[in-house]
């Protein structure tokens, strides 16, 4: 066979011929780094003493990478890298915009705190069964979901983080963990399958999986495509992943069962990936359908907020109480998405970032409190304030932050969402946000009064007099973040508003994937 004449084919139309700039490698590095270090830790699985320092070092590097990536995105707008030299929309594109970079940075922060906390709280058997490799692979999935610009690739990262979360969830194999894992695993698998169904239809309609391509085509071909059906499927799938009201029962059934640091990581990372994906798809790809569905999302948001907060009030086990608070926070984010606009979506992004830090810290604080007072049950706990005033003060900061009190980080996003809701005349939604803050205050206030103020009911177990150093280190760091963000909200406020307008008007995102309008 004769070789085709080289002059007949212009490769530059199909392939990237110039190698990507060195700085562009930052786009893929967080994922590649997590996969590589996860693989190395897996090989060192039996070396239980080497694992924590190595994993913490790897997570520090991940944090630095994500910070550099965010800095680059703030500096020069969205960045794209295409895999395998194929030009988009054929190659799988990783596109990072401000929203993705912010989420990636905060997720790395949460993971680092979790890695430090786990150094002393996960025992040798937990390490041998792969806590740290699972953590790194979970971070690969989470970072990949935040950074990818391809919707099928997003599905793949969802599955990567899901299978890692299964591994973390059953670490310890107690009957209650198995029970929680059964419900978590089945329902989450169904949710990601729903997502895959939606992706299948999307491919059938558009013939492309590249998000920038879809965003541009959805605007051109709206009207002759059943985009509403697609939108409903995506809202249901991501709502289930994010634990929105009618489809959230897997969360309170499972989040209190694993090791407390695993719960903390799940609360910080998993549901927020669902929220991120919902924002990405319903705000950026299908804004018109997102608008039309806004009442459905708003109703789900209100129910999620109220039932989450009421569920928290009804619990006596502090870990289960926190599971309901995670749900209630998801409601606030959904309310922001439903309201829309830079205020609403920006508020949802801000609240998600706040919630990542604070919910993780709250689970960690509960772990410390449970160890010190010997019980997670509010009927039996008590006397923490008399024993460790500093830890109690940290917990109080977190309690106030989660209920949205100034001057902590929970205050500003709630103000943004409530104000945006009032601006469009949705008084009931703004009122629900405020009422939720009040109910949350009751729930966490009671934890404070019973477990901290009240004199101890039971004598302390021997050898558990003081909190562990690693736990206090990560807890203080996260509490510091919520205080700093609360006191100086301006930098983050500007970034989330810019991220929200970048999602609502994705021309910079599209241009980064298709330079000089080559689509």
């Amino acid at each position: 066979m004769a070789a085709p004449a080289a002059s007949a084919i212009d490769l530059s139309k199909a392939l990237v011929l110039a190698p990507p700039a060195l700085a562009d490698w930052l786009v893929i590095l967080p994922v590649a780094w997590c996969l590589a270090s996860g693989a190395i830790l897996l090989m060192l699985r039996k070396n239980v003493r080497l694992q924590p320092p190595l994993a913490v070092a790897a997570l520090v590097v991940l944090l630095v990478l994500d910070a550099l990536l965010l800095w680059r995105v703030i500096d020069g707008g969205p960045v794209t890298m295409v895999m395998g030299r194929w030009l988009p929309p054929f190659g799988i594109a990783f596109t990072v915009d401000l929203a993705g970079a912010l989420f990636a940075l905060f997720s790395a922060l949460v993971a680092l705190a979790g890695g430090i906390y786990a150094a002393e709280s996960i025992d040798a058997s937990g390490r041998r069964y792969g806590f740290y490799p699972f953590l790194m692979l979970l971070m690969a999935g989470v970072s990949g979901a935040f950074l990818t610009g391809d919707i099928f690739n997003l599905y793949v990262w969802f599955e990567v983080l899901l299978i890692s979360s299964f591994g973390l969830l059953v670490l310890g194999s107690e009957p209650r963990q198995i029970d929680g894992a059964v419900k978590y695993a089945f329902l989450n698998l169904i949710a990601t399958t729903l997502f895959l169904i939606a992706v299948g239809y999307l491919y059938g309609l558009f013939g492309t999986l590249n998000m920038a391509d879809i965003a541009a085509k959805a605007g051109e071909r709206r009207g002759d495509l059943p985009l509403m059906t697609l939108g409903v499927l995506f809202v249901l799938a991501f709502g289930m992943k994010a634990a929105a009201f009618p489809v959230n029962f897997w969360l309170p059934a499972s989040y209190h069962t694993p090791r407390i640091v695993v719960s903390a990581l799940f609360a910080g990372l998993l549901t927020k990936v669902g929220i991120y994906a919902l924002i990405r798809v319903m705000v950026m790809l299908f804004p018109v359908e997102g608008d039309e569905l806004s009442f459905v999302i708003a109703a789900a948001a209100a129910a999620t907020m109220i039932f989450g907060a009421l569920g928290a009030i009804g619990q006596s086990d502090t870990r289960r109480l926190l599971g309901y608070l995670v749900i209630s926070g998801i409601g606030v984010m959904l309310a922001g998405i439903a309201v829309g606009g830079p205020g609403g979506v920006g508020g949802a992004l801000f609240y998600a970032l706040h919630s990542m830090v604070v919910m993780t810290a709250l689970y960690m604080a509960t772990g410390v409190a449970g160890r010190l007072s010997g019980a997670f049950d509010l009927n039996r706990a008590g006397g923490l304030y008399g024993r460790t005033a500093f830890f109690s003060a940290l917990s109080l900061v977190l309690f106030l932050s989660v209920s949205g009190m100034p001057p902590f980080s929970g205050f500003w996003p709630k103000v943004m969402v409530a104000k945006a809701a009032i601006d469009i005349g949705a008084w009931w939604l703004a009122g629900t946000v405020l009422l939720t803050g009040f109910l949350t205050m009751i729930a966490v206030g009671r934890v404070w009064v019973l477990a901290y103020w009240r004199p101890a009911n039971i004598p302390a177990a021997p050898g558990e007099g003081a909190p562990r150093t690693s736990a206090m280190l990560s807890l203080s760091a996260l509490a510091l973040v919520t205080v700093l963000v609360g006191l100086f909200p301006d930098p983050l406020l500007q970034q989330v508003q810019q991220a929200a307008s970048g999602l609502a008007e994705p021309s910079a995102y599209v241009n980064s994937v298709f330079p000089q309008g080559a689509r």
Binding site: A8, I163, R176, I178, A181, G314
Partner: protein, 125 residues
């Protein structure tokens, strides 16, 4: 060919949903397996069904000259099969462990994590 395939997929989905609504883990597992196959067929159909013509560009051309099979849905399905297979394997082991540890495969009776008799929090200080 797409219409009969759509009907077939509908039957698959209906069977999967029916099985997953059961409270017994084994039936839910079967439902999940059928659901995975339903989705794979769906992906296959959304790529449009043509005869088995390999998508190979003849020499001396820079584009396809005949209607060929769409390779992308097949790549998607391959990914989805691998993922759903591994998840199914995990769920199978998890269900077996649940049966061993909890002594039941009835989801209604799995109340270890969320006990039926919930302890209410104290009402007073």
């Amino acid at each position: 060919m797409e219409v009969p395939f759509s009907l077939l997929i509908g039957i698959f989905f209906a069977a999967a949903v029916y099985l997953m609504l059961s409270k017994f883990l084994v039936r839910i597992l079967l439902g999940v397996a059928i659901l995975g196959n339903a989705v794979n067929l769906l992906l296959f159909t959304t790529g449009r069904i043509v005869r088995e013509v390999p998508p190979i560009i003849p020499a001396a051309f820079d584009h396809q000259v005949a209607v060929t099979a769409n390779p992308l849905p097949q790549a998607l399905i391959l990914t989805a099969i691998v993922i759903s297979f591994s998840f199914f394997a995990f769920l199978l082991v998890l269900s077996y462990r649940a049966f061993q540890d909890l002594g039941t495969d009835n989801a209604n009776e799995m109340r270890v994590a969320e006990p039926a008799a919930d302890i209410a929090p104290p009402t007073g200080y």
